[in-house]
């Protein structure tokens, strides 16, 4: 028997049916067509599937789709304001903070969650705030700098 779920994703009402053991990540990717969240490990170790669920950063591979009833979900697809990129997105491009880009949606979600809680983080706070996300290309240097630059811009 599938679970019948009514939820809100990036401000839109979404209804779906999923298997009881199906992860939120699989629901997003295979049923709703939102493939911005990536499966790097499926065990909550890499953060590539990060989304914001009721204001909290989670690995969508560790959440069940069936748990989503009545919840509010934010994914990478909802981060930009129409054609205008979020400052974090813009600074990732301007600061060359991505190479292959597979981890980028997860990092942007994690950075978004961090800056909401702490708009003026130190370098160390940024590094620990992003420690749940793996990047194999950049060595993190340019990611940390992009988050610093975006935070500064967002503080105004």
């Amino acid at each position: 028997m599938g679970a019948h779920v009514n939820t809100t994703i990036n401000g839109d009402a979404v209804e779906f049916v999923c298997a009881p053991d199906e992860s939120l990540l699989d629901v997003l990717r295979n049923r709703i067509g939102l493939t911005g969240a990536k499966e790097g490990c499926g065990t909550g170790d890499c953060g590539a599937c990060s989304v914001i669920l009721d204001g909290r950063l989670v690995c969508s591979c560790l959440v069940l789709g069936a748990e989503m009833n009545g919840k509010k979900l934010e994914t990478i697809e909802g981060m930009a304001d129409g054609a205008k990129l979020h400052p974090l997105q813009q600074h990732f491009i301007d600061g060359a903070a991505l190479q292959c880009g597979i981890c980028t949606p997860g990092f942007l979600m994690a950075a978004q969650a961090l800056l909401r809680k702490n708009p003026d983080p130190t370098e160390e706070e940024i590094r620990y705030g992003l420690a749940g996300n793996l990047c194999r290309c950049t060595g993190y240097d340019k990611i940390v700098r992009a988050v610093q630059a975006a935070a500064k811009e967002m503080r105004g």
Partner: protein, 753 residues
């Protein structure tokens, strides 16, 4: 049309600027499509059954129950992949690695694959397949594998490179030797001789995107595949050959790639997805789990290396010898030989030799990992050089500068160097503020230099002028980290148009001629060369069209800043024709305007880098923290400096992970114990400091802009630089990588005894 590839332009308009990459917006908004991000109507989901044993005979595979499960559409075993390799043993090895034939050779070796209507059904079907194994003794250690007492993995391997060729099969597949001079005479001249042995453990490239492909074979034999790969043309060629398809009927499209670092230069499950699709007559999507990526794709060799260096008191190295033992996993390879070729490449040594021994073990097939084989040999050599410096009381940077290779040096692996950057990177390190900065308590500083060959290879570029005068560029060499931006810069530079007027795509295998894969740091080097030539060929046509319009000889038309101009005083009244004008009028002057380039990009230009590392070691826990890190490397010419810096930083971070944490752990049962990111720990953001970079530009004389490949060299020195820093922090020489806390504590303890 052949064009001169030699360096000529000195002043650039857009090359070297930090433009926004063309794939940036798609990648920050989640729109970019990677291997697993696309689907086909009616697609099935495929999963692979893998061996739990490191070495066993497959006595029987019973698929009868699984076949009957509702929703299962196809099951394949090696019986569905007949040997079509016609005596090509290397191709048969590839096939055998994709699917075990008579024996399984490592934990995780594929034995069967299922395509079903969904993943749940496919998982259930795997459980219903019964495999009857006869377990054989196994070996996973490189030194053990080379012993005469070791279980022999392949009965057809008789060591290459030994005369007379052995008549008894063994796991020792190849021996090779490089170097020159008279070692005995050299060691006799030495005041100091240091002789040490080192070990490094097996690591994985650790790309975040697991392998994924979507294969579709039609009943008429035409096939398509969408796949994350570093080389879709090579995947096309190999898959077509193994499945008996004509290469022209298999159209492979490269998805965006979520990291590769060498690991996506080999085919793994792609032939299985194609065979399943052919059998089921439906599209098949096959995505690996992270556990499969660790167990069954291509990590590095683990190694065991002996080094002996003799030097005079003034620092002159008089003789150097190394024996390098690497493994290729379960198949014959030449990774140790690669290591041997790199061993002494940084230095000008009169008498040097390196001897390589390649072994076969019951581990997954070793694949390239960024400058494959060089980090391990560099670790062994640079630590020994550091000991020589300490033994004669000389500054380690000065010792390296004194012995550094230079233009005209005959390298230890054969070629005579042209202009190279080893001396310049060492001088820059010597003068860098990092070298003079004070050190905190329990913190040590290490420096090391490293080398990589770089490669050029086959490349195709098509450049088309659209009717509105903007430019499209199609390249067949995969973009793994930003090369599309560099190619657009090259086309814009040549044509004299803004960067934004050029759009670059990676074309599929049916749209261009063969391209080699993106390895050997060749992506930007070779593709930018082809893009320059394609643009120059287009300019020739643009000039011809202007000449035709003006009815003057083509020799009287020059191309300046994006416009055709008529030469000579008598033609001063002819207004220049812009790219837009010529594009608009193309239909009346001879048709569409394009430039093509199909080349072998020779003379890639060797690459050198020097790294400086500060490491703090907690002597209670053995935990190491990198407190400062600097990368200095010759780029030839940095086409996009931000992405050159990114390569330096990323390579250093990978090397730091290798030096401190990353390691395949095999149990005595021959099974991999840590096939997950939780237990195979790559560096996270809070593990690392900012990584400083310094780009040197010593032009490669054989690239029109002086470019050298930059991607691989940055991973070569870190193992050495970090271990020397740890040695200086603890006072104990570290001979075994990674320097995990237990290994550091053990080394400190045994030094006290």
């Amino acid at each position: 049309m052949p064009l001169d590839q030699d360096l000529e332009i000195k002043k650039f308009k857009v090359i070297g600027t930090r433009v926004r990459r063309p794939d940036g917006v798609d990648k920050v908004t989640g729109r970019a499509r990677y291997g697993a991000d696309t689907s086909a109507p009616g697609q099935l989901v495929a999963l692979v059954l893998r061996s739990p044993h490191p070495h066993a005979i497959i006595k029987k595979i019973d698929i009868s129950k699984a076949e009957k499960l509702a929703g299962v559409k196809a099951i394949i075993t090696s019986a569905d992949l007949p040997d079509l390799t016609n005596g090509d043993r290397a191709m048969l090895d590839i096939l055998e690695n994709c699917m075990a034939r008579k024996k399984v050779l490592y934990d995780g070796h594929a034995v069967a694959a299922v395509a079903a209507i969904d993943a749940t059904t496919a998982r259930a079907a795997l459980k219903l397949i019964k495999v009857d194994y006869q377990i054989l003794p196994h070996v996973t250690d490189v030194d053990e594998a080379l012993k005469p007492t070791s279980p022999v993995i392949h009965d057809h391997i008789f060591t290459d490179g030994i005369e007379p060729k052995p008549t008894k099969a063994s796991n020792f597949n190849k021996q090779a030797e490089y170097g020159h001079g008279d070692l005995d005479a050299g060691f006799a001249e030495a005041d100091v001789i240091i002789e040490k042995s080192y070990k490094t453990e097996q690591t994985h490239q650790g790309y975040i995107e697991p392998h994924s492909c979507l294969a579709s074979v039609s009943p008429d034999g035409a096939a398509e595949m969408w796949v994350c790969t570093q080389g879709h043309f090579v995947y096309r060629n190999q898959c077509a050959a193994l499945l008996g398809l004509d290469a022209n009927k298999l159209r492979v499209t490269a998805s965006e790639i979520g990291g590769g670092f060498g690991g996506k230069t080999h085919i793994w499950t792609e032939p299985l997805a194609l065979a399943l699709s052919r059998k089921a007559n439906r599209p098949v999507k096959l995505t690996m789990s992270r556990e499969e990526v660790f167990r069954c794709t291509g990590p590095t060799s683990s190694t065991s290396i002996d080094v002996k260096i003799g030097a005079k008191k003034d620092g002159t190295i008089t003789a150097a010898f190394a024996e390098l033992r690497y493994h290729g996993g379960a198949f014959p390879s030449n990774w140790a030989e690669f290591g041997a070729m790199t061993t002494w490449a940084c230095y000008d040594i009169k008498n040097c030799k390196s001897l390589s021994k390649d072994a076969i073990v019951n581990r997954p097939k070793t694949a390239a990992y960024r400058a494959p084989s060089a980090p391990q040999s560099c670790f062994a050599v640079e630590n020994t050089i550091d000991e020589v410096a300490k033994a004669i009381g000389m500054d380690p940077v000065e010792l390296r500068i004194k012995n550094a290779a230079k233009e005209g040096t005959k390298s230890s692996y054969g070629p005579v160097y042209g202009p190279i950057g080893i001396g310049a990177t060492l001088q820059a390190a010597k003068n860098h503020p990092h070298m003079k900065a004070p050190l905190a308590k329990d913190t040590g500083r290490g420096m090391a230099c490293g080398f990589w060959f770089n490669f050029g290879g086959q490349t195709c570029v098509d450049l088309n002028v659209t009717p509105d005068g903007t430019i499209t560029v199609a390249v067949g060499t995969m973009d793994v980290g930003g090369s599309r931006a560099s190619l657009a810069l090259a086309a814009a530079e040549e044509l004299g148009v803004p960067y934004e007027a050029v759009r670059v795509i990676v074309a599929d295998t049916s749209s261009l001629g063969h391209n080699d894969m993106t390895d050997g740091s060749r992506g930007t080097f070779s593709s930018s060369m082809a893009a320059v030539f394609a643009a120059r060929n287009a300019i020739t046509i643009l000039r011809e069209r202007a000449a035709k319009t003006w009815e003057i000889p083509v020799d009287d038309v020059e191309w300046v800043d994006g416009e055709a101009k008529a030469k000579g005083a008598s033609r001063g009244n002819l207004a220049p024709l812009t790219l837009k004008d010529l594009a608009k009028g193309a239909g009346g002057t001879g048709g569409p305007i394009a430039g093509h380039s199909e080349i072998v990009a020779d003379n890639a230009g060797v690459s050198f880098g020097t790294h400086i590392c500060d490491a703090h070691v907690d002597k209670e826990t053995g935990k190491t923290t990198i407190t400062r890190y600097t990368v200095i490397q010759d780029a030839g010419k940095a086409m996009h400096p931000s992405y050159v810096e990114g390569q330096y930083q990323g390579g250093a971070a990978q090397g730091i992970g290798w030096a401190l944490n990353e390691e395949y752990v095999y149990g005595t049962n021959g099974r991999l114990q840590n096939a997950a990111f939780l237990d195979y720990r790559i560096p996270v953001c809070s593990d690392l400091p900012m990584i400083d970079t310094q780009i040197l530009e010593i032009p490669n004389p054989h690239h029109p802009y002086g470019v050298r490949g930059v991607g691989e060299t940055p991973i070569v020195p870190p193992l050495a630089a970090v271990s020397i820093a740890v040695t200086n922090a603890t006072g104990v020489r570290m001979h075994h990588i990674p320097m995990s806390p237990p290994r550091i504590l053990k080394a400190i303890k045994s030094a006290k005894m």
